[in-house]
Structure formats: C-alpha cells, structure tokens
Amino acid sequence: MRRRPARVRSLLAGIGIGALLAACNSSVDSRSEEGAAAASAPAYGDTFIQASIGDIGGLIPSLTSDQSSYEVGGLIYDGLVKTDKDLNLVPAMAESWTYSRDCLDLTFKLRRDVKWHDGHPFTADDVLFTYRTMINPKTPAPFKDSFLLVKDVQAPDPYTVRVRYDKPYARAVETWSGEMLPKHLLQSFAEAGTLRESPQNSHPIGTGPYRFQEWKPGEKVVLVANPDYFDGRPYLSRVVYRVIPSQATIFLELKARGVDYVSTLTGIQYARQTEYPAFRKAYHKFRYPASDYTFLGFNLRDPRFADRRVRQAFAHAINKQELIDGVRLGLARVATGPIRPGTWAYTDKVVQYDYDPEKARALLAEAGWKDRNGDGIVEDAEGKPFTLTIRTNQGNDERKKIAEIIQQRLKDIGIQADIQLIEWAAFIKEFVKPRRFEVVVLGFGTGIDPDQFVVWHSSQRGPDQMNRTGYANPEVDALLEAGRSSCVQSERVRYYHRIQEILAQDLPMIFLYYRDALPVVASRIHGVKAAPAGIMYNFDEWYVPKAQQRYTSG
C-alpha cells in the first residue's frame, strides 16, 4: 500500500484545518449567544460591521455628495448642533445658542473641552475657518446654499461664535450641524483650493466619536473609538464599513452574519425573507417612517397637463394603497403632501383623491379626451391619442414597480403609457434638467425643517434648480417666503398648512407614499431604539455585553 505523497497529505491537512476552523467559528458563536441574560451590562469593545453599497467619495463630506461619505463622516466629524431622537436640534459642540429678538443674530457658546483627534483644541477659529472655506468659490462643495445666506461670522472670543444674517432664515441653526473642519491642518489647502488633494481627504482628523484608522478604496473603511470624545468614549470599539456593491450580496451577507447592520430592508425582505427563527434570533428588526417620499411628477409645461382636470384624473386613476401593497408590502404610508407626517408642520386636512377610475374617465372626458374610435385609448378632438412615457432612473426597483403598476392603471382609463428606465446621469442631464419629460417617478428627501422654497417657488424653475415640475403659484410663493424668514414656529405652522392645502388642490405632482425605513441590527447590540429620527441618533451609546462580543480586537 503506497503512502500518499507529501503534497497530497499537506493538502488534506489544509482542508482539514479549514473545516476545523469553520466548525470552531460556529461553536464560538452559539456559545456566546447562549450566555446572554446575566451579563448585559454596558461594556466597551467589539466591532460593528456595516455594509456600504458604494465606496465613499472622500473623507471630507462637504466635498462629496454620496450617502456613504456622509455616514462615515458623521462619525469622524461633529457639528455645532445635532438632532435628537425626536428630530429636534440639540447641542453638540456648541453647549448653547441664542437668537436675537429680530432673528438676525445667532450666537453660539462652544464647549471648552473639545479636542481634535490630534490633540489640538477646538475653538471658534475653526468655526470661522469652516465658514470661510465653504463660501470660498474655490471649494468644490455641492451644498453651500445655507452658508451663502450668512452675512458674516465673528469670533469675539475662542468659545463664542456670532453669526449674522441679512434676513431671518428659518434654517439657520440647522446649517451648523455640518462637519467642522480643522483650521490648523487645512488652512493652506483651503486657500489654494486643493482640499481634495489634502491628506485630510484620505486621513481625516475630526472631533467626532470615532477616529479614522484606514481606508482601503473599494474595500473598506475602518474607524476606531475616540477615547477623548467630549461626550465620553463610545462603547463600540471599532466600526467597519464594507463596500459591497450589490444589494443582493449585502442581503446575503446579512443572512450569513457577515454584517451587523443594514440601513433598510426592502418590503419583501422585511416581510417575507427575514421571518425564519435563526434570523430573528440573530437580528432585531426596526420600523420607523422615513423622511423621503415618492411621487409622480407632471411636467406642467406640457399642454395636456396644464389642465388641472387631467392631473386630477390621474390622481383618481391611481390606487395608492395598491402601490404601497405591491411595492412596499404595506410598509409605507400614503402621502398627501411634501411634508413628513408626524412633524410639526404636517397636516392631513387636505383634498384627497380616492381610487375611482370612473371619475377619472369622466374628468378626462370633460377635458376633451374621449375614446372616439373604440381602440381603448382616449383621443382629443383632433383624434390624437393620449400616449406618454413614464420615466424614472435605472437601478431603483421600487420606482420601476411603481411605473409598471401606474402604467396598467392608466391603461384602464384609456391612456397608453410606455416606461423608460434611464441611467441616472443621463436621466438627469437629458430629461430632467432640460424638462424633456412628461411624467417622472422620483423621490424627494425632506429635511428636519419644512422649508421647501427650492422645490416650489416659481423662481426655482431653471434647469439646474429643483422646481422640476415648473410649478408657479403666487400665493404659494408668498407663503414660502414668509415661512422661510420667520423664526416663530406658531406662525410658520400656519403658512405650511396652507401650502399643503394648495398643493393638494393644484396637484403639480401626485404624492404617492412615505416609505417606512426598515433597519436591521445584530441582536447582540444593545441600546438600539427606534424613534422619529431613526435609530442611529444614539449610536455612541450602543454596546455589546462582554459575553456576547464577537470580534474581540479591543
């Protein structure tokens, strides 16, 4: 009997070791899960692994526009204020602030115990520097609007910042929730306009709860807890973002327990694919209303849509609940306007359009659209059939399904619709900006402030501006301006209620739904609570009890 040659033996050994490792790994998991009850006290340690569908664009968030950069940046940097669980603005690096009587002066008092990750103290100079950098034309920041409205900023002493505005600006305080940049490191780069090439963009120094450790482009970003954080060291020692460019793979990784958190599941995933015992044991699912809404937007310059009855017909032809059931499996709420339900400016006392195809057909007929030749499609007086193209961006499964359902519903009332899914960059450049569309399915995110001047004001209808539908109503204009320049909430409420009423009547777009966010967090992590702001608002307080820690790297 011949002995196996050495090579084969070591190969077998290798396979054996591999199998053993796999077995050991799984037994460790089950053991640590079991010991739950007793030791559930807060403890430092463990690593939190998160999936990111795109690589970050850079490590100075203001220079980027992708979600991932802001998420990562949110842990490395801090702003003067932040939002709490109920979406109120609360102190962060500023310990308090005051408004002058006329709403034109905003004074922040800064904390004295904040240090940059390199030990340098954080002072009002940094705030001043950040402001100057943001308004500097050489800085390639996409979102400078809010800063540009500031008249000037002064730092009378190292821990006081005075911001002056020309006109009262409702979102003033919110402006200062963005990240603060270190003057002592970036001054020369900001002046030269070379921020993107600065070391900060690949090795950032911030003031936030986590410090940067490494970035392997296309693979991962690693952050470690900041022991000197002014609010106390966060419990979770490490945060890792893994770049996984495919939604399907992210979900599979979740099921294989390779990630600890997913910011939102789809409706079907939540309702059908995560209901089995092993998953429910390993993860906690949460649900809260998200801040973005999906809509069907009309191009009001199209003469057919200039007639309000046509738009109303569309609204009656669409069954919003059907959309929610079909696309989100019921995990959304019907939208009636652009302001988020549950926030202070919201009202639902507006005109509602029920699903009523008969009424829709009647309205179309009133507007001159009848089926004159029996082919199932309505035509106008000259015999021209009502056909249109529903456009939306590629890569978004929800919007695609919405388009498909709406297409069939329109067919039921005699309108023939095609669907076009267009790659995002081309979609924006070729169709949305030059207003070369008939209807689009898109979404808008609502911030914590109800001001939506840029979306509804008649001055914002230019190609690069956000009033895509081309809506213009002088009464709404006046209300938007008033709302924006008041800092008295009771006043603003009235303005925004009225705006919602008018928008529901005018129907520049059909507001479809506000989806529910459906995040998932590994069950070993404690301290997670859903609230209107989501779940991440208290991330630095999350912890894993000692016995359940999975990645013990300190």
């Binding site: 950069s69 050489k138 920041a141 996409p142 990784e253 960059a425 070729e430």
Partner: protein
C-alpha cells in the same frame, strides 16, 4: 519575419491612436457628464459649483481640444486624476485593481487549460462514444449557463445554507488577526466560488476547441502513418498528434491575454471583488472620463501586443502558414 513584426508594430501605433480618439469621443458624446454626480439632485445642492468645476476639468472646451490635452499627458503616462470626489490619480486606481483581476484570471485560465486539454483530447479520440456525448453535454451545459445565475445559486448553497464558503470580497474582516496559514486559507476560500463560476463557463469553448483541433490532426496522413508503423495508440496520440493539436491552443492562449486584463463585470459585481471589470462599469456609469480612458488604453495596448505575439508565434510554430504569402499545398 522581422520585417513582418516591424510592419505590424508600426501599424499598431495609428491603430492605438484611433482607438483612443474614438473612445474619447464616444464617451464624451454620451449624455450626462461627470458633473451630474458631483452636483446631485437634492434640494440643497448649489448650482454655481458646476461653473467652477467645468472650468477646472476643462469641459467647456471642444472635444478635440480636451482630447489633445489628454493625449499629451497620456504619452507621459500621466492619465490625470479621477473626476470622482476622491480625486485620486487614474493610474493608482487602475493599479489597485489590475493585480486582482490578473491573478483571478490567470488561475482561471490555468484551470481551464488544465481541464480542457485532457477533456478535449479524450473526446476527440473517442468521438461519438458515450464519454464524448456526456462530456459534450456537460461542457455545453457549462457554456449555456448564465454565469450570474450560477453565481447566485452557488452563493445560496455554499454560502448561506451550508455556510462552508464566504460569499463576497477577497478577505475576511479579521484577516489581519489570522495566522499566516489561516490567511492563506481565507484568501483561497474567498476565491473558490468566483473561480468556480468563471471556469464552468469557460471550459466549454476551450475544450471544444481542443477537441476540434485534435480531430483535425488525427485525420492527417502522418498520424495514419504512425499507426501503420505499429506504434501504440497512446504514443501516437501523445507524441505525434497532441503536439500538433496544441498549436492552435497556443494561439488562443495568446489571444486570450487581453481578456485577462478585462475582468468579468458580472462576477466581480456579484462577489464584490474590487477588480478591473467593476472599475470599468463604475467609471462608465459615472462618466469618469480619465479612468475610462486610462483603462481603455491599457487594455487596447495589451490586446495589440497580444495579437502581434499570437501572429508571430503561430507563424513560427506552423510552417505551413506564412504571412500573407503563398499558401501551402494546392
């Protein structure tokens, strides 16, 4: 022959230029520009940033001017920086991805050749037998299976249900904390699924090729002669037939060289492997012109080189074919 090589080299240069110019124009004309990613659709985005960026990237000049600017720098191997907010040099980005793709593809190629040659040879020598039929069907099933389908099925089976293999990336997260051997195994286990999917498909073409080539060779006179001489079938095949049948295989290997650089978009995307294929797609979608062009030039150059090598090799190795001259027997 040297003349031939020289002539081909000289012809390659205008070809290379033509390629780069055409692709620059095509990408440039495609709707949407890099700015649409830097100034996204969000109620807070600022429009005047675009003015500045247009000036910075020189996008306000006509296409041919932009092209010329790019070309003069490319010749010095300066492919510029990516248009994406991270602004890193193109060569760096490609340099990060190329080794991964090359490595994967080389292994895949090695496995395919290693398996395809014996399969093909056996198929040819036992033409129409049961073995031939079974392997034919098997190999064809491999060719007909969409790779993304197979990838997902294998991921579900081995990754999720059985939990034997990792399903994405190249390394586990705790890689730095593993011992050397554990690291090797970890890396290896991450490669198993992607390579399995890739080879399953590629095997078909190659082994058919081998079979075809072998079939042709086996019918030649000299093989009959060898048989007539009384040599064992085995010697006939391995010593005489195989050598000749492998000639076209060598050619194909050379022609496959550029494919090594490309990287499979679908496989890389599903398995989250940071390779060239993924880079290609992402940069096309985000209109990241510098990266697209850098990518293209490298691939184009290598392809041209590979073609040249293949032609020369083939000419050297098969005396019956000469370059553009008279053909063999009439």
């Amino acid at each position: 022959m040297a003349l031939f090589a020289l002539r081909r080299l000289l012809l390659s240069i205008p070809l290379l230029l033509g390629i780069t110019f055409v692709s620059y124009v095509v990408i440039g004309l495609a709707p949407g520009g890099p700015l649409d990613f830097l100034t996204p659709e969000d109620p807070n985005a600022s429009p005047e940033v675009k003015e500045r960026l247009i000036k910075e990237f020189g996008l306000d000049r006509p296409i041919y001017v932009q092209y010329w600017q790019w070309l003069t720098r490319a010749v010095r191997l300066d492919f510029g920086r990516s248009f994406l907010p991270d602004g890193r040099p193109v060569l760096t980005k490609i340099g990060e991805r190329l080794p991964v793709t090359l490595f994967l593809n080389l292994i895949e190629m090695a496995i395919i050749v290693g398996l395809a040659v014996p399969i093909g040879v056996l198929s040819a020598t036992r033409q129409y037998s049961l073995y031939d039929k079974i392997t034919t069907v098997f190999v064809f099933v491999g060719f007909a299976t969409p790779d993304f389908w197979l990838a997902l099925l294998l991921m579900i089976l081995f990754g999720v249900q059985l939990g034997w293999l990792p399903i994405s990336g190249l390394r586990s997260l705790n890689w730095e904390y593993l011992t050397f051997f554990q690291q090797q195994w970890d890396f290896f286990s991450h490669l198993i699924l992607p390579i399995a999917v890739a080879t399953f498909g590629g095997l078909a073409g190659f082994s058919r090729y081998m079979r075809q080539s072998m079939l042709e060779v086996v019918r030649q006179d000299y093989v009959q002669t060898a048989r007539a001489k009384g040599l064992s079938e085995r010697t006939v095949i391995s010593k005489h037939a195989l050598r000749n049948a492998l000639l076209p295989v060598v050619t194909i290997l050379a022609l496959a060289l550029p494919g090594l650089i490309g990287g499979s978009v679908i496989i890389e995307s599903i398995f989250a492997i940071p390779g060239m294929g993924q880079l290609m797609v992402q940069s096309v979608f985000s209109r990241d012109y510098p990266v697209v062009m850098g990518n293209l030039v490298i691939v184009a150059t290598l392809t041209l080189v590979a073609n040249l090598v293949a032609d020369i090799t083939y000419g050297l190795v098969d005396p019956r074919i000469r370059f553009g001259g008279r053909r063999g027997r009439r």
